[in-house]
Symmetry: C2
Subunit: 165 residues, 2 copies
DNA sequence: TCGAAATCGTTATAATATAACATATCGGCA
DNA sequence: TGCCGATATGTTATATTATAACGATTTCGA
């Protein structure tokens, strides 16, 4: 049967074990199809980032992984994060200098807007086709050639305002 | 006579002395109309930020101001920057952890998209009404209540690609 | 002119990120 | 198989960005 697409903001009671397993699978696939190496270190770092739907700091990851035995040097973690970002399975939350796992399907991936709930800390990505089309128009009007864009909203998610459907 | 609005990306040969004077005037007005105090420290910091159309780091400001005699503590500069941001005359460039002067007219101010040229370093702000309307639609579709937004494009400006009109 | 609020100074430290160079591992290929 | 170049990781040091805590000073209205 076809798998249902998870909502951008995960239901508070969602099955995160299954969700995480799928996220790991997508990451493995992403590395494989791009001919990149998902090494043990990168996998361990990714698991920490994907463990929640929050954005986590590099030093939080070091702290968490130290509970598994070895305390990594910051540079090791940053290098792993760089590789994960390169592969597209992790994104950087600029407004918080932190990192979050991409829970979107990389195959059908479009450009996403990042929504960050200040109350529960959950990060969601939603398709931003219309927004990015507007930005393209705006940039061409200035004859500006884009190389990267950041579109992040901070606020309160539906679950936190009690508006959950 | 009515003053001509400066283009988002200033012409390389523009009269920056006059441009800066206008920017300072707008800052003074912004502080005054909001009942805030544009103190000597804040003014000195603002002058450094507004000295170029680039985004400058807090420690660059400390360095520049140290040439005028006193070496300020980081916290002093950060507090001044906070006040300038609060007054709306300075914005933060999230993608570079740096700060730039707002060259838009605060009175008629709408929400702006930030364009950052990776080649010449110039920061421009352009009206982003359409973009922000899209974002409003996107956010309501998720029942997401926005409190702040970041929309930053990085790339190459027309002057740097040789496309200048 | 008194007093509360705002501003600024001083010191210390937290939090985030990278440079430089050595060692180890992987994977193709002679 | 064993070498080699490329990639990845370890190690040490340091750069960069930002804030905490507390006291002194200034401002401005009552």
């Amino acid at each position: 049967m076809a798998q249902r697409t998870a909502p951008p903001f995960p239901n508070p009671g969602h099955n995160h074990v299954a969700c995480l397993a799928q996220t790991l699978d997508r990451a493995r696939t992403a590395f494989e199809t791009q001919g990149l190496r998902l090494t043990d270190l990168r996998l361990r770092v990714f698991k920490q980032i994907a463990a929640s739907h929050h954005a986590v700091g590099a030093y939080d990851i070091i702290e968490q992984l130290s509970h598994e035995g070895t305390r990594l040097a910051p540079v090791s973690v940053y290098r792993a994060i760089d590789a994960l970002i390169e592969a597209g399975v992790v994104h950087r939350l600029e407004s918080k200098n932190a990192f979050f796992a991409c829970h979107a399907n990389h195959a059908s991936q479009r450009q996403n807007v990042v929504l960050s709930c200040a109350t529960c800390g959950v990060i969601a990505e939603v398709d931003g086709e219309a927004v990015f089309a507007c930005l393209d128009t705006l940039a061409s009007a200035q004859q500006f050639t884009q190389t990267s864009r950041i579109v992040e909203l901070t606020g309160r998610c539906a679950h936190c305002t009690g508006n959950a459907a």
